[in-house]
Amino acid sequence: MCAGLLGAAAWGATSHARYSVSAAAAENGATQVKIDNFSFEPKEITVSAGTQVTWVNADDVPHTVVSNDNKFKSKALDTDDRFSFTFAQPGTYEYFCSVHPKMTARVIVK
């Protein structure tokens, strides 16, 4: 139970801040960004090259995931819809929601 509470506290502490993918996430080659309350959470993640990142829309309104340089672009994601992209090359990938352009975030690939 304590572990659960600590885990929840840790999630709360990192959900609005920078976030580096844990060893477990890096090992299975996937990580997740939650779209909730008009924001991407976390706003910044750091992953290794070859990692697949998945966005999940938890909002009631549709959102999109569009990179500034058009390297990836989702369709309109309905509630609980997912969009995945594998980052093969290192770099910083800025992205936004085309429906709500103030929603911005980034993926740093090392």
Binding site: D59, V61, A76, D78, H100
Partner: protein
């Protein structure tokens, strides 16, 4: 492009909202022109709003509706984020078509006499009431989609 009203909306959406409010004011001003018996100015004012609204439908509202709302009907129709814009879209289409009919019937000779109504005031008042409801549901759509809370 980011909007200018401080919400989550895009520039086009914010611009559409401002133009819709301005058109609502213009329609009310147009009714005062009719009361002052300035019928030509009244007709020009109301017709200009209808045509501008057609442009806004074509450029902003219809593309948003078809990509973001229509695919969620009927599965998500019970949700506020789908129900409000759906009601807005349906009533808005009726208001636009009725308005165009009134302009054609009252301001031109395009329609045959048999197709024209005679109770002008009644239909124009219905149109104004309908437009008001459409404006309200449009503002409701903006609130739900770009301000929230939405759960």
């Amino acid at each position: 492009m980011k909007g200018f009203l401080g919400t989550q909306a895009s520039f086009a959406t914010d611009l559409n909202l401002v133009i819709q409010l301005a058109m609502g004011i213009a329609l009310i001003a147009g009714t005062f022109l009719a009361r002052a018996k300035r019928y030509k100015a009244h007709g020009a004012c109301q017709a200009s709003v209808l045509i501008l609204n057609l442009v806004m439908i074509a450029v902003v509202m219809w593309p948003h509706f078809t990509t973001l709302v229509l695919p969620r009907i009927p599965a998500r129709l019970a949700r506020t984020s789908v129900a409000v814009p759906t009601v807005h879209g349906i009533l808005g289409a009726v208001a636009e078509m009725l308005g165009l009919y009134i302009v054609l019937a009252a301001g031109t000779d395009v329609l045959p006499k048999a197709w024209r109504f005679t109770r002008w005031k009644l239909w124009m008042r219905i149109e104004m009431a309908l437009w008001g409801i459409v404006l309200g549901t449009g503002f409701g759509t903006y609130l739900v989609w770009y301000i929230g809370p939405h759960r």
